[in-house]
Symmetry: C2
């Protein structure tokens, strides 16, 4: 049992979802996840939240572990019939998964907020933690690529399988967006904040760029709350996704140290993998406490183990609170 | 091969769909069906056209013959998951069927007309005939019942299994609706017009009440076009659905003659079943030519046979055209 009471994780897709799953094992309902919505999109007139749903299915324990997205025991009848009707189905949607998009779209049309809709879906699936969209406003990640110019995120990520070279990112709508009340409360009450092992550019980046959100993290830090990032890069490679190639094409070191430098001034601690232990001094030089551990999360036990390591690390970074007798 | 070149059928659900299927065997693309949209509804934020879809699936030869609605070889994953999310699923939607509703809803949102969306779906399924919604405007059938007051049609028909006693019908939005250009062309070009063996109150009724539509049929009649109704009542009972009980509760004879009287002044011919041959004189007295035949359509061959009978009957009702040398 960790002494940390309220933990907030910033997360994108699968890496962040796995760490959140591990943290949920320790924290249950005391965990809140702030999730990127920059990957959201409309397909077939339905409103899709891929990062949220990956988190939701993972925290409900019903994710498709083989595919890395979607639901276990999925069927594909709707998509097959959509193809008959001439719909482009490169964004593959399973039948059970489709229900979430249908419900979300219907309730948005009724005027409900994305956050409350998401919460109702999570509760229906028995998710203990709260998964909070970073904003109820529409933000869309776009990538300028060498080969195809500006692309919507999912066009790049799914349709083109992350093959184009990314030269620039932008988050359309971010200036006019604001954190939800739930996000503000989560950050204001947090005893620890974790930046999950998600892509720093297109998963964590949009969350941090919601106006006011980075400031809320800075305020937490000012009151002694540990802000810890977990590396998405191990041995120079992303566990999943294009973070490694994005680091390279955007001019950064393709390493845990390269990621740490992106978070300089924001985080107080950094978790890197055993295989990258040699990078530890250069990360410590950035003014971050470090934890070197096994960051690979295979099964559920592996997720819980890493989460336990991260929680233990964060407890050591709470001097003021411990002095206050907690 | 019939000498009739362009035949138009007015139809609601399953009875009209079966006759249309039979007519399509004879006429192929020369058949146009004007379909009731008063039964349309929104479920889970999706736009459903039950009568259109029953016709579409039947004319595509992929209807679920056992259920009398929906598609053959259907799966039910989406509906099961919608239930998990707390959605009411009394209006049962299969997975393959769901695709039509998703596409229709998306394309309506894009600004396409219901008629063009429907046509694209029909073509994708290989339907030869053209199925034309009676209007692109929204019309909603409501029923005043003894037990539950005013009900939306599908609440009465599906949720309450047609059990309440119907005292009155209304078609909300009908005054402001108008026939589509496609419907106007179909009626203006028709060589024969058939009122299918559908419920006269809630299937044929809304079609006839679209402002201008009954007049278009009258103009066709004035130029010698036969207007023929096929009875939905055989031996005092509806083949399917609540037409018999509606006839009774709305104060009409529960018989083919009762239906014929509803169509007096509109139709020039009436097709009744062999078992009701004794009613033939009373129907002839209404000023209608009559055909007494087997109106029960079991399999595909039965549909084609009845359709052939109806076509042959209508050819005998075309005196002026035959005099003109056709």
């Amino acid at each position: 049992m960790t002494a940390l009471n309220r933990v907030v994780v910033l997360a994108g897709g699968i890496g962040g979802a796995r760490l959140a799953g591990g943290l949920q094992e320790h924290l249950g309902a005391r965990l809140k996840v702030i999730v990127n919505v920059g990957d959201d999109l409309e397909r077939h007139g339905l409103y899709l939240c891929p990062d949220h749903d990956t988190l939701m299915y993972t925290l409900a324990g019903i994710e498709n572990t083989e595919a890395g997205w979607g639901l276990e025991e999925e069927t594909w009848s709707v998509a097959a019939q959509l193809e008959v009707y001439g719909e482009e189905t490169w964004f593959r949607l399973g039948d059970r998964d489709m229900a979430a998009h249908i419900v979300r779209t219907a309730r948005l049309k009724e005027g409900q907020r994305l956050t409350e809709i998401a919460r109702a879906l999570q509760l229906a699936l028995g998710v203990e933690a709260k998964i909070l969209p970073m904003t109820d406003d529409i933000v869309r990640t776009e990538l300028r690529t060498e080969e195809d110019g500006w692309l919507e995120f999912q066009e790049y990520y799914v349709r083109l399988r992350s093959e184009p070279t990314v030269l620039e990112t932008r988050f359309v709508g971010i200036e006019g967006s604001r954190p939800t009340p739930e996000v503000n409360v989560a950050l204001a009450e947090a005893d620890a904040i974790v930046l999950g092992p998600s892509n720093p550019f297109v998963s964590i980046g949009p969350i941090l760029d919601v106006p006011g959100l980075r400031e809320a993290i800075d305020w937490a830090k000012a009151r002694g709350v540990p802000i810890v990032a977990v590396t998405p890069i191990v041995g120079g490679h992303a566990i999943k996704g294009p973070a490694d190639r994005m680091l390279a094409s955007l001019g950064h070191d393709v390493s845990a140290a390269g990621v740490a430098r992106l978070y300089r001034g924001l985080v107080t601690g950094f978790v890197l993998d055993n295989v990258d232990a040699a990078l530890e001094p250069s990360i410590a030089e950035l003014g971050m406490a470090t934890l070197v551990t096994d960051t690979i999360m295979g099964d559920r036990a592996g997720r819980a183990r890493l989460a336990g390591d991260v929680l233990g690390f964060m407890e050591t970074l709470q001097p003021r609170r411990e002095e206050a007798g907690r």
